[in-house]
């Protein structure tokens, strides 16, 4: 069974630990999720663009010496609030699905007794 991830929430969640560029964000998602989540990298940039337009994140081009400059993203106060709202949504989603399929602690106990 597959649950669809919310790419906006994953990006905001990664940026909470500090500013990062696109590649770094995709790496953080992979590493933090123990390779469980792999965001389609090509879709990461359109999502970043939308978050920037919604002012959940800000971006600035940082020069990199000999290499081309990088666009580094940082979460805004509004983005932190959006993340909090997404966390609440996620908790209620997990609770809802868990209740149905037996993923929550209470339900697991209930299922194991059967």
């Amino acid at each position: 069974m597959k649950f669809k991830e919310d790419i906006d929430a994953l990006i905001l969640g990664c940026l909470i630990s500090g500013p990062a560029h696109g590649y770094e964000i995709s790496k953080r998602i992979r590493q933090l999720s123990n390779e469980v989540l792999t965001v389609a990298e090509g879709k990461l940039y359109p999502a970043l663009h939308l978050l920037e337009a919604a002012e959940d994140i800000t971006a600035s081009w940082i020069p990199q010496g000999n290499r081309p400059p990088r666009k580094v993203y940082e979460i805004t106060e509004q983005g932190k609030m959006s993340l909090e709202s997404k966390r609440r949504q996620w908790r209620s989603f997990v609770e809802g699905v868990g209740t149905v399929i037996g993923g929550t602690a209470d339900q697991s106990r209930c299922w194991s007794r059967r």
Binding site: S26, K43, A53, K71
Partner: protein, 219 residues
């Protein structure tokens, strides 16, 4: 497919539909991303050519990526604003020429009323490009309203208000034979003002645009 080939194809396709500035920004990010991934794989003892191929593969198939970018970025403006920068002033010159003709041919007081009526009714047309730009910007915040649209709308709102004030003044003075047309004229002034307001609001990032976005269900 190598990184330069992939990036080249992506750039070529995106350039057909997106603004040049957006394409360059997107391509710069994609290129750095792919090179980073290639370097990381190469550092893990993967041959450079294979690393490039894997980086490209992981990034995603071109049609999917192109679709995602097209859905996100604002579309390319149909005209180069620099090439048509003269339009508002040319329009105003033509309008002033017609107004002068009406004023001299009608003559005196009635001439002033006729020109004021013309100003009020024509002004809405000048606000329309700015209004469309404003609505577009509510959807795509990075879409810039070009100076041409703002200038045209400024002329439009100026004409509408001036014409409206003249007509109201004339009506209050009880001298206007066109007094029956006044509600009709005021509708134009109100329409122009609303259009102008939307355009101005979309240029700021305050509460107004947020409310408008909510009303229009735009992100």
């Amino acid at each position: 497919m190598t990184i330069p080939e992939y990036v080249g194809d992506l750039k070529q396709t995106l350039a057909l539909t997106l603004a040049q500035e957006d394409v360059e920004e997107a391509i710069a990010e994609v290129q750095v991303h792919l090179e980073d991934r290639r370097d990381e794989l190469a550092a893990a003892d993967v041959a450079v050519s294979e690393a490039e191929q894997r980086a490209v593969q992981e990034f995603g198939a071109l049609p999917v990526i192109i679709k995602a970018f097209k859905q996100t970025y604002p579309p390319k403006p149909p005209l180069d604003p620099k090439k048509v920068a003269w339009v508002p002033e040319a329009f105003m010159m033509i309008w002033l020429g017609i107004a002068a003709y009406v004023l001299t041919s009608t003559g005196g007081f009635q001439g002033v009323v006729a020109v004021a009526s013309m100003a009020v009714t024509n002004s809405t047309m000048l606000v329309i490009p700015g209004l469309f730009g404003g609505l577009g910007r509510l959807k795509y915040r990075k879409l810039r309203i070009v100076k041409l649209q703002v200038r045209m709308a400024n002329y439009g709102i100026g004409m509408a208000l001036l014409g409206g004030v003249i007509l109201v003044g004339v009506t209050l003075a009880g001298k206007n034979t066109l007094a029956g047309l006044l509600p009709f004229h005021l509708c134009f002034v109100v329409t122009s003002s609303l259009g102008y307001l939307v355009m101005r609001m979309s240029l700021s990032n305050g509460k107004g645009p947020t409310i408008l976005r909510g009303l229009l269900r735009m992100r």
